[in-house]
Symmetry: C2
Subunit: 490 residues, 2 copies
């Protein structure tokens, strides 16, 4: 049937079409049914809401998600037809029942996720199936390819496109804005795309955004890379592996991240980004995503196997993930740490500098920019000479930003040592939660500054400082600090 | 915050609240977040949509699901507050990870399902966890109790309240409208509530509705039972075990029905309905829900164990489920079969009559209305003497209906035998699907009539007839018949 588009400016988080109840009765369409909308060859599946008022019988009101996907305007005509259960439902049932999926079945599931033919509940069944029954090597390869094929691909017309990825989970740990300018200054093409925070206090994109826009479109990104060899952009606006974004939304609900999904998620984004040489950082330890070295090694082997299969030069580095890296946790506090290192200030966080240099040196070596075992010396030279700072400034400027001193939040609460002691552990998850309660990453100026790390503290010294733009949030955060004890002392 | 209610008459299938985008920004609420709405102590959790127009900053537009739950009127004030992830998320994660849940954890999950604090995707994770990891006996008992406690309870003030349940999956098989009047005529209190079709061609409620209203409220239902000893009502409008209804919605998406869920679903509804003596029919065979006798026996033992635990007199009967029972499939065609049996017409489907008598006799025996092994004779006498027909008429009248000849659909397609042969099997699932494609159960007059069952057919004889109100649906159904071959011949 043909329907006239009515705009309500309604965002529902998922594509929704609102029909008149009489029309729906006539067409045998029910609430929560799915209908396929089509305009000029572009298609999207949406969920049906019904109304007696707002929308007339010949009209359909669509949510902004439909509007953007089909580029609709008020009063336009749209083709709508009811659509039956997608075939992928049966394949998801197979996976939930412990069976192995074929390449074609996995491809169909991913295509249906991207076209919105599957609801979040149906995607949750798929995630559960993978979580409980795992995936064979072949399935993970097929999943990776299907996800990479589900969206845009970048092409930088260069034999070497360098990249770096960390599986996350560590508070602070902002190595990317240090190693990217080092590697770019060494002559590598390194078009780095990063995520925003999901459950952490900040993602690299949130941190860079303190100084420069990160939501670049593909043309702008290519222009920045052409000018500077690099970029520090948000990956979310580029349409790389869109199936992955939808899967992550559903995984977040229960905080599950099945290993096959983790592997395919990262690898598909790297393939879509055109990366050829990649360093993957797997931090492990208590309060990290991966707790044991055995687990970390098993994951390392799987990543390297996939790297071989997809003809990438991929090296996995296992690092210490038992406590936060750097002192700042939260966008402004983290970029301040980064600037201290790039400027080689005396108060720089040496653990963060050391880790960034290590990862940069590995990337310089696997790309051949440095001879084996000579990467560290090269990376250090570029950092200490100020070349990295200059390159960082170039990238920030090319993205439309400027290096200015990051402002911190107006309210702060200092935690003072009650006696002489030693900090024996700092819990990543609790520090992230503390920074989030203070307002990070939505308030870029909020977060936690670890004045002391794993070291001796004297009575009266400041151990950590919580920054917040709101007195209530500061209070909530302090209460959480007291109740959860993110630091252990001896 | 306080918000003014605006009515849009919007049905979304799930509680939705639409906020103005500016207000949301100010209050740090995002699309798809959950907020808790409260009016006069009644609470409901809804999902947030955002709009720039339609709703002003001080307003909230709510879907009809919220409207009905809180009994709202235009312009009323409502308390709204953002709500964090419910605790049950962690318990669902536990179940998905294969752990055993405590009574309190199960209770919290069920309460959060009923209050809409959990989305369909989160419920899907719970169903997946139960599907993949099962539940221990204690967990099933706790789940049953939590579900029974989640809604209304019926009380008929009688030491014996008889009931019957079939786990479903067989086409036709409409024994309930025959055995209920038999048992009621024998003096049993049998307030039967039934479901509508979920995936079948018709549910008992759809079939009775051809003759009488089935959506009775609790007062009306009690009045009908007081007058006639029985009722033939739809269970869905009574608010018994509402958690079960929401779980079934999510299970339907993937067509999964984990055994612990099946057990708790049926038992919780029986507890809430106040049933004391219950016959459960488990049909097994090829194309039934349960394929093997071993599986059927294992399920029987679990039902009987739960019956003991909950102090019910519960007997499970295993029956032949390898092919449809009766000739009609679809509401009007099935009630025609039922009326033929109640009237003892010559053309009655004897397999359906036989099965109804068997189940009735078992129920008469476990309630003590008949001595052991004397139930069948009593049931037959009541049926053949016309007492059952009179009682059926009484019940239909008390519900506000009338016994009239069921009308069949205008268009029909007869399938003719091409040669002499024998029908060796009839597939339940395919016959149900065939009837659904013809328009059943939405079109009560549509469906399939099996002119022949497992018997010899001569060339030129009618094997089956498809009835439909629409030529296109008839065509679709016939195409499905040709492609799927629901009957096998020799």
């Amino acid at each position: 049937m043909k329907l006239k588009v009515k705009l309500l400016g309604l965002s529902a988080g998922t594509p929704v079409g609102i029909l008149n109840r009489k029309l729906a009765l006539h067409a045998n369409i029910h609430v929560s049914d799915r209908i396929l909308l089509e305009k000029a060859g572009k298609k999207i599946v949406c969920v049906v809401d019904l109304t007696d008022t707002v929308v007339k019988e010949e009209e359909i009101a669509v949510s902004t998600e439909v509007l953007e996907a089909l580029k609709l305007q008020e009063g336009e005509n749209l083709k709508a037809e009811s659509t039956s259960k997608p075939q992928s439902i049966y394949f998801i049932h197979k996976k939930l029942s412990g069976e192995t999926l074929t390449k074609a079945e996995i491809k169909t599931i991913i295509e249906d996720i991207v076209s919105n033919a599957l609801t979040q509940a149906e995607i949750a069944y798929f995630v559960s199936g993978v979580f409980n029954n795992g995936m064979k090597r072949e399935e993970i390869i097929d999943l990776t390819e299907a996800m990479a094929d589900s969206g845009m691909r970048l092409d930088f017309d260069s034999p070497i496109v360098a990249d770096k990825h960390c599986i996350g989970g560590i508070a602070g740990n902002r190595t990317t804005p240090i190693l990217v300018p080092i590697c770019a200054a060494a002559g590598l093409i390194i078009p780095k795309t990063s995520s925003r925070a999901i459950t952490a206090a900040a993602g690299t994109a949130d941190v860079i955004e303190v100084l420069a826009p990160v939501e670049l479109d593909i043309d702008k990104l290519k222009q920045v890379v052409k000018k500077t060899n690099a970029c520090l952009a948000w990956g979310g606006s580029l349409g790389l592996s869109p199936a992955d974004d939808k899967l992550i939304q559903v995984e977040r609900l229960l905080n599950v991240d099945p290993e096959p999904q983790l592997l395919a998620s990262i690898m598909s984004k790297k393939i879509a980004a055109g990366s050829t040489h990649i360093i993957i950082d797997i931090p492990f330890g208590k309060s990290a995503k991966i707790e044991s070295k055995e687990e970390a090694n098993s994951l390392k082997n799987k990543f390297e196997d996939l790297g071989d299969y997809f003809n990438m030069k991929l090296k996995v580095i296992l690092t210490d993930g038992s406590s936060p890296i750097g002192n700042g946790v939260g966008p402004a506090l983290e970029i301040r740490d980064v600037l201290k290192i790039l400027r080689q200030e005396k108060s720089l966080p040496s653990d963060l500098e050391e880790k960034a240099l290590l990862l940069a040196s590995e990337l310089l070596e696997i790309t051949g920019k440095a001879k084996p075992k000579k990467g560290y010396a090269l990376a250090s030279k570029i950092l200490k000479s100020g070349q990295a700072l200059n390159k960082f400034r170039e990238i920030i400027k090319a993205q439309g930003g400027d290096i200015k001193e990051p402002k911190l939040a107006i309210f702060k609460k200092e935690i003072i040592a009650e006696k002489n002691s030693k900090i024996t552990s700092i819990d990543n998850k609790k520090i992230n939660e503390l920074a989030r309660l203070a307002g990070s990453p939505a308030d870029k100026t909020a977060g936690v500054y670890l004045n002391k790390k794993l070291e001796k503290v004297k009575k009266g010294e400041i151990i950590l400082t919580i920054y917040s733009e709101s007195k209530e949030k500061l209070k909530d955060a302090f209460e959480y600090y007291s109740a959860s004890q993110p630091l252990q002392f001896r």
